[in-house]
Symmetry: C2
Subunit: 438 residues, 2 copies
């Protein structure tokens, strides 16, 4: 059989399937966007042959919480907590983050994400159609949706205009195209979306069959402010508005109490753990292992570049593994394989896409990355999961496939010009092309 793409001679294929299958000296056949064979692929011919000698092949990483357009704001707010961070960011957003800045930032962020092995991102930002256009252009699998504030945000939209955008969102996503993602609605947080508005979002989400993404309990002050403003904790407000169920991904969840944890576990909602951002903003250390033991699905994320300050999921793998050891005073708190699963199949579950992506299995869409292990810092190579979590880095990602399309080839993007993407972003930030009123 002739297929579109054959990946051959991989030292390890980490399937991340339910049986935790690891193949050695194996290949993958990809056709029409999907995986059609794994293991011995000698019987196939292919239009494109990829030699993966000395490489580790695994599912593309899933960044379960980010703000890609904010890549333009990298390094804007240093040495401040969440609230100080938001103040600084909002001022700069007013200056450069219109639809054009959003598009350029999403393009730059999507490029950085793909180069570092991330094939899917659950994104959140204003002007979601501009962000989606930018990310899809570079080749990322990009889930986003209308974001909700009680007050006009940097996008200047009134509440009624947010509702209007929601009604047109399915056709906008359809028109932009790109790899399949679910529809999303994104109330920013139960702090700045009041309970009545949360209920309205719940109704809208059911109308258009959308999933939900929101920030929850990132730090103690957010919890206290939410109680002061709306009389209850963020998780309880979400539950009472009907928004807490298996459709929902909660970003951060650093400061949950026992009731919050039980509510989230009972509801089947998932959590996006962002240890880099949480530590940098001194929000605290989320209890990854404890949440997992309660049966909560926890994926990993970077948060936006204005807080974390990059989109490096390999750095997140390592930090999540190390932070869990500190929180539990236990060097066996979580194994490297479970950390890799958190960034692949568990992230896919968080997106409601575990039947489509997150593992290397016949019939699934081919979101696959090839990590070159023939470098000094991966020599000698013993367990491949340990190598990925504790020694590999984004620069070891050589090739990236999203839905079968090779979007990174030998560390360069295939769909955009890297220099042009960087230069357009810089020019916009520096105001060389005038204010962003587009």
């Amino acid at each position: 059989m002739n297929v579109d793409t054959l990946i051959k001679n991989a030292r390890f294929v980490l399937t991340c399937d339910e049986q935790r299958t690891v193949l050695e000296q194996a290949g993958i056949a990809i056709n029409d966007g999907r995986i059609v064979a794994i293991g011995n692929v000698d019987g196939f011919t292919a239009t494109r042959m990829i030699d993966a000698t000395d490489c580790i092949v695994l599912p593309g990483l899933i960044n379960l919480h980010t703000h890609l357009p904010m890549t333009l704001l990298r390094g804007i707010a240093e040495n401040v907590d969440l609230q100080g961070f938001l103040e600084r960011v909002w001022a700069e957003e007013a200056r450069i983050m219109g639809p054009k800045g959003t598009y350029l930032g999403a393009r730059l962020g999507a490029l950085e994400a793909l180069l570092s092995g991330t094939t899917t991102a659950l994104d959140m930002y204003f002007h979601p159609e501009a962000a989606h256009r930018g990310a899809v252009e570079v080749g990322l699998r990009h889930a986003i949706g209308p974001v909700f504030f009680d007050f006009p945000g940097p996008d200047g939209l009134e509440w009624s205009e947010r509702i209007e955008l929601t009604h047109s969102w399915p056709s906008l996503v359809e028109a932009i195209g790109g790899p399949h993602v679910p529809l999303y609605l994104m109330p920013h947080s139960p702090l700045i979306v009041n309970p009545e508005h949360l209920q309205q979002i719940n109704e809208l989400a059911r109308e258009i069959d959308a999933r939900i993404n929101t920030h929850t309990s990132e730090n103690d002050k957010e919890n206290a402010d939410t109680i002061a403003a709306h009389g209850d904790r963020p998780t309880a407000l979400l539950r009472d508005s009907g928004l807490l169920d298996e459709r929902t991904t909660l970003a951060h969840c650093v400061r949950l109490n026992d009731d919050d944890r039980v509510a989230i576990a009972d509801a089947g909602a998932s959590i996006a753990h962002n240890p880099g951002s949480n530590l940098k903003l001194a929000s605290g250390a989320m209890d990854l292992v404890g949440y997992r033991e309660q049966g909560i699905t926890v994926g990993l994320g970077t948060d936006g570049c204005s807080s974390s300050n990059d989109l490096d999921m390999f750095a997140v793998l390592r930090l999540a593994a190390n932070l869990a050891r500190l929180v539990h005073h236990d060097p066996a708190a979580i194994g490297a394989e479970d950390i890799v699963r958190a960034a692949t199949i568990d992230g896919a579950s968080g997106l409601g896409m575990a039947d489509r992506i997150g593992s290397i299995e016949v019939g699934k869409e081919a979101d696959v990355i090839i990590v070159d292990a023939s470098v000094p810092h991966l020599t000698p190579l013993r367990d491949p999961f340990t190598a990925l979590v504790y020694a590999a880095g984004r620069s070891d990602v050589r090739d990236v496939f999203v839905a079968g399309e090779q979007v990174i080839a030998d560390r360069l993007p295939t769909k955009v010009d890297q220099r042009e993407v960087m230069e357009a972003a810089r020019a916009h930030v520096e105001g060389r092309h005038g204010e962003d009123k587009s």
Copy 2:
């Protein structure tokens, strides 16, 4: 004036001098191993011209605690604490870590270190002459010395043989050559070197004018075991033997009490902070900011690849900054510039070499690295220190100079063949060349 090397057009030169001078659009002239001019270098001609457009130039990073030969043991001991780790490591050391394995591991580790921007390492291992030969061959500035155990270690040496090695150490270092480093003696820890032996090492060190490097208070069990074995805490035992003064660098110091901290501050000893290793082995979180506020010099280190599991000082920069925020619940706990200084000038102070390396100043030896910032994950570039700590990585290091010699050029070593270094290490680990009895 004609010089050996001119680095031109750097976007930023971070001198790390006492005045914290940062130059923009600047150059560096290097001659006969030393820095002869900084800033406008238009008046110079040079044998070798290096264009640093879009680059950040800074002093080479100083890894203040590592075990380079143990790079061969990368990934050998996962999900165990310090004591479990030592058990597994010692078994494998008996198999492969004779003089040949030590040499091959040091070569591989030195290569990894240089590729990731480390120009100096304070190393500790058996067969120090084999390790030194390997590291110097690759071009690293490499400080090491005889290591002491009460009992025969994997090297099989009796106490009297360790004393003999110490007497011949100055001439061995002289014969091997390489960039200047001080002499060192390395009692493994006050747990496994008894007080009488510590005193003997103190006398030896004064005889040959050697500095001291040892492990101290890495975790609670080490403290308890030391008290049980020798009647006092590690820091007190070092002080009472005369070993605690400005010659001394203490690795780890995760679990110091108030008395220990005061004793170390009063003595002027320095500390090597290894956050990656400490978290991975669940030893705990060292109080970087608190120690600094007490006036203790704290440098940064990776520890060996069998615990941490690589030699990536950029990962250490980021983790040290984030961990300090967690420990102090303060997003302004320590600034990015102070983290970079910890890995450069403060590391040099720890080695007693602040007059020679650790900053870019006229008259100092030219240990300089060039970081290429023209990549998506460093775009846009605002503050260069923030970029280095929170977004840059080892793969951004393009060129590396040690004592004026270019040892890494465009991401490849100049003094060894990268493939040969990796292959020789792999072959040794896999026993393809027989047991290491050499």
